[in-house]
Symmetry: C2
Subunit: 209 residues, 2 copies
């Protein structure tokens, strides 16, 4: 029987204790342009985004990038920025993760060096983003303390964190928000064996608050 | 300073140890119709959905329902079914949860009795759904075993679970999928103090697999 282990599809691996030693970060995400032209928005963004620094796989529900954290974050940010269109309401739902005990050592790209390939193009674009996020440090008793520390990081970064049931909201420029998400991932990989950071970004929402 | 605790907005509560004793389940979700007519699809679905059995709050990013699990699940399923339109690609992103140590005893509706109010209308509608999900049993060392058991529940329910990186995919009729999500929540509330079940449902995807 195929086993559940946060996603490893290989059955020849030991069930647990392997993934936490791997230096593989990943992000599974879905892009939702609320527009009848959504196919061309998504395909156009994919075409403009350099994914040469990550391993990538797509299915009908989502896409996953895997590799070293800076390149994974760069590719996701690049795709989101490339998909942005004036006035088009769009959401990006995703989860950064590292350290699942059942993770496998394939399906990744870890030998890449040098600058993140989407950085130069992405740096020129700026727009405001609403974000909700939820952090799950797994297998540790003090996870609430870890979450509290990350909350304070958002405060220090000027992202105006606000608690809502089951999540935290932040807002800022698209680069500020992605910098924060990446900083949370870096902190988590230093402090817990396995984490998942769920996030939803929203742009051009017609809802006034 | 306002503290992070999975979302409690009240500062007069003790920081931890309260939420796990509360019989309050919740679901935070966002509906994404990939259609330029998305506003009327969402508003039309809200109008048809009976939310009298749950506490509800919306912001620009998502909506949260809180109360007793059967009513929370009924309201989310009712909204999704009411939003479905032939040929319109749509996704529902959400998280069921119960037991956050920082949860508060307000913002819920727990005295409701009787049948779930959307059941009769929803039962008449059937369509196939793709789903990805990720379960997080918090603060326990054996969380991977809990996840594996829930994977087998999907197998037993005929939902053809498949592992993908960071998630599990299932597919079935909309009612089968919601029944499974609710069954996972019930099992988790019996076995762990705090869980979160993230899910994404997709209908009418143009992507052929």
């Amino acid at each position: 029987m195929q086993q559940e282990g946060c996603g490893c599809q290989r059955e020849d691996l030991p069930w647990s204790g392997r993934g936490t030693k791997l230096d593989i970060s990943g992000c599974r995400f879905s892009l939702y342009p609320m527009d009848s032209d959504f196919v061309s928005i998504i395909l156009g963004a994919l075409e403009k985004t350099d994914t040469s620094a990550v391993w990538s796989q797509s299915d009908a529900l989502s896409t996953v990038y895997r590799g070293r954290l800076p390149y994974v974050a760069d590719a996701v940010k690049g795709l989101f920025i490339n998909a942005w269109r004036p006035g088009v309401h769009m959401a990006l739902e995703g989860q950064f993760s590292k350290g699942c005990p059942g993770d496998c050592d394939g399906d990744s790209l870890l030998d890449r060096q040098g600058p993140a390939p989407n950085q130069a193009l992405a740096a020129k674009r700026h727009f405001p983003v609403l974000c909700k996020l939820a952090l799950y440090p797994m297998g540790v008793g003090d996870y609430i303390d870890q979450i509290a520390q990350v909350w304070r990081m958002a405060e220090d970064a000027g992202l105006a964190p606000a608690t809502i049931h089951y999540a935290t909201r932040i807002s800022g420029d698209v680069h500020q928000v992605f910098d924060y998400l990446e900083a949370v991932c870096r902190r988590m990989e230093e402090t817990v064996p396995h984490y998942i950071l769920h996030f939803t970004l929203s742009v051009n929402s017609p809802t006034q608050e």
